[in-house]
């Protein structure tokens, strides 16, 4: 299919990954800054060239400081520290000397800046794993300074006084650290799938998002668009009437959602606890506000990222305790550190180059090589739960077989943790779930990874989005197998992948035997409303119909045909 920018009044289509409607002018995240050509010379006025180079570096430093101040305003202390350190680098006297020397030799300012950074880049890259993350910071400063000198757009999230629709090829965590949630009305990206960083961030912020949307990066800056994050459409230059109609429909749905409250369950009273996926204590407020009955997935790696040493026992204990205290009557399912070559940590270097990090030494595999990290984390969890009423459940990521499950259960019991469980995200674990069920108290299905592994399709590759669809009957088969084995053994089997946040799929998962659903907090109300409109039998019939389909699309349609309440919700 040819990729072309849609004309005014046209519509671009992608995958809707965060519901809601947003309208505003397009702001595009600029592409990478080109390397200034080697051998570029200046016109002869070295003094003026030096002044230009230093002015560019100073402007970059001032901009970084301003961003640091904004990060502080939104309570992002870590972002503030990183940005302030970057400002110090931009003002580094040694760097300025290096730039001046190269300009003195006749090199043009942009190339001189590029080369001067290069010397430090090599030094830091060679100085050990502690400094790996600083190389990326340094490249970012270099690109900002070079962009100014070449007169090309500065990379990164654009500045704007009015709310805008953020359009990008894809967004990295670094792009979004200083994002002002009040300014972004929608996200649209060329790449990415339902579990990409952009999609998860958008759902966490409650902002509509469309990903894998061809042509979006060709939209001229400032074009007005109407983004429908449920339908996956981007309407170019919409009329005021269209915007109003879309906003009215979204508001009508929001009021239906707001009327659904209380614990999750089907229309006929089959309970399905609805839990939140969180990254730390900062996400608890949104979880409680959206009616979460507990936490189904506490991703603890955010405590460990971007630091040179592991968090101390006291720091871990405090972060876990804060979350446990927020749910005195609920349960909190904590996932132990999920690190590896795809999410590297400075103090847990991977054993070597992994050509295929998703299939490498990550999750429990990594923890078995660093038993002291696992022991410290389980110890901190056990102490954090002491004297509290919340039910603490702890699970391991990337578990493949019963032996690994048994190892983890033993480690938990040694630490005094009563309820050990495992993630089911490796197809082998789902296929032999019966063996694993004998070793642990519960399963939690990680549908994102389960889909990626079942279909051998990397989550990060937008072009494979059609293979990353959790509606694929092969994935539903694995879910049914794991849930069935759990039920037979009297174990619980939750779902904590993003699939649980899709209202139609949530009903199907319950019909397949999922005993609880965990998702990004803003997805909870719509799922609660969808479940409350259907009986347990309707969910089971929809699940059987989906299992009987041959394609993801057919499964979706077959299930929807048996779930009439979805239409009432405008889904």
């Amino acid at each position: 299919m040819p990729e072309a920018a849609a004309p005014a009044g046209g519509t671009l289509r992608g995958a809707g990954v965060s519901p809601g409607v947003g309208a505003g002018p397009v702001r595009v995240v600029a592409a990478a800054v080109p390397e200034p050509p080697a051998g570029a010379r200046h016109g002869g006025d070295a003094e003026a060239e030096r002044a230009a180079a230093l002015a560019a570096l100073e402007a970059v430093a001032a901009d970084l400081e301003a961003r640091a101040a904004r990060a502080e305003e939104v309570g992002n202390a870590e972002g503030r520290d990183v940005l302030n350190a970057q400002a110090l680098m931009a003002r580094d006297p040694g760097l300025a000397d290096g730039v001046a020397a190269k300009i003195g030799e006749g090199t043009a300012a942009a190339r001189a800046v590029y080369e001067a950074f290069g010397a430090y880049r090599d030094m830091l890259a060679g100085a050990g794993e502690y400094l790996a993350a600083r190389v990326a910071d340094l490249d970012d400063i270099r690109d900002r300074a070079v962009a100014r000198l070449l007169g090309v757009p500065v990379p990164g999230v654009p500045e704007s006084d009015e709310p805008f629709v953020l359009v990008a090829r894809d967004l990295a965590p670094a792009d979004t650290a200083v994002l002002d949630p009040a300014k972004v009305v929608a996200f649209v990206t060329l790449e990415g799938g339902p579990t990409s960083h952009t999609a998860i961030l958008a759902r966490t912020m409650g902002v509509p998002a469309v990903v894998a949307c061809p042509g979006c990066t060709d939209l001229p800056e400032g074009t007005r668009v109407l983004v429908d994050g449920a339908a996956g459409t981007v309407r170019v230059d919409p009329s005021d009437d269209e915007v109003r109609a879309a906003q009215d429909a979204a508001a009508a749905r929001a009021s239906i959602i707001a009327s659904a409250a209380g614990p999750g369950g089907t229309k006929d009273g089959h309970p399905v606890p609805l839990l939140a996926n969180i990254g730390g204590p900062q996400d608890v407020e949104a979880a409680v506000a959206n009616g979460a009955e507990g936490v189904g997935l506490y991703r603890t790696e955010f405590l460990f990222l971007d630091r040179a040493t592991p968090p101390s026992a006291a720091e871990q204990e405090e972060a876990y305790r804060k979350v446990l205290e927020a749910f005195p009557k609920g349960k909190v399912v904590v996932r132990t550190l999920d690190a590896g070559a795809d999410k590297p940590l400075a103090f847990l270097p991977p054993p070597g180059d992994e050509p295929n990090p998703a299939l490498g030494e990550r999750g429990l595999r990594m923890l078995r090589r660093h038993p002291e990290v696992l022991e410290a984390q389980l110890g901190a969890l056990s102490r954090a739960a002491e004297g509290l009423t919340a039910r603490l459940e702890v699970m391991a990521p990337m578990v493949t077989d019963a032996e690994e499950a048994a190892f983890f259960a033993r480690a938990c019991r040694d630490a005094g943790i009563a309820h050990p469980g495992v993630m089911i995200e490796v197809p082998a674990a789902a296929l032999r779930a019966r063996d694993l069920a004998a070793e642990v108290e519960f399963f939690s299905l990680g549908t994102n990874d389960l889909t990626q592994y079942a279909c051998a399709a990397d989550r990060q590759i937008g072009g494979l989005a059609h293979l990353q669809d959790p509606w694929r009957p092969a994935v539903l088969d694995l879910v049914a197998l794991a849930a069935g084995a759990a039920a037979e053994a009297g174990r619980s089997c939750g779902v904590c992948g993003e699939a649980g946040g899709d209202p139609a799929l949530a009903c199907v998962l319950v019909g397949l035997g999922a005993t609880s659903l965990s998702m990004s907090a803003p997805s909870l109300p719509l799922v609660r409303a969808a479940l409350a409109r259907h009986t347990f039998d309707q969910c089971r019939e929809a699940a059987q119909a989906a299992l009987g389909a041959r394609t993801a699309q057919a499964a979706r349609e077959a299930a929807r045909a048996l779930l009439p309440g979805l239409a009432e919700l405008g889904l």
Partner: protein, 90 residues
């Protein structure tokens, strides 16, 4: 010139926030300020990139030197940064 050897108590070594504080403190001085690993080549303590490049870690020793008026007071301040186990939170 004043000089002293200091053991790094900062848990993250001379990196991250302690490194930034160290450089900002050194930058306040008018004269030259250097930091080196024992027996190593001294680097400009006002340069964050040079200081990070030392890759000085928790428990290691560094030699800090300063000249001119107020050198001792400056070294006191730098030593205080290195002796802080946890980075100061702002």
């Amino acid at each position: 010139m004043s000089q002293r050897t200091v053991k790094i108590e900062s848990k993250v070594g001379l990196h991250a926030r302690p490194a930034a504080l160290f450089v900002q403190t050194a930058a306040k001085a008018d004269g030259d300020v250097t930091v080196a690993k024992p027996g190593g080549k001294p680097v400009n303590a006002k340069s964050i990139l040079a200081v990070l490049g030392l890759d000085a870690r928790h428990g290691e020793e560094v030699v800090i030197s300063a000249d001119g008026e107020g050198a001792e007071e400056l070294l006191d301040a730098l030593e205080a940064v290195l002796k802080q186990p946890e980075p100061e939170s702002a």
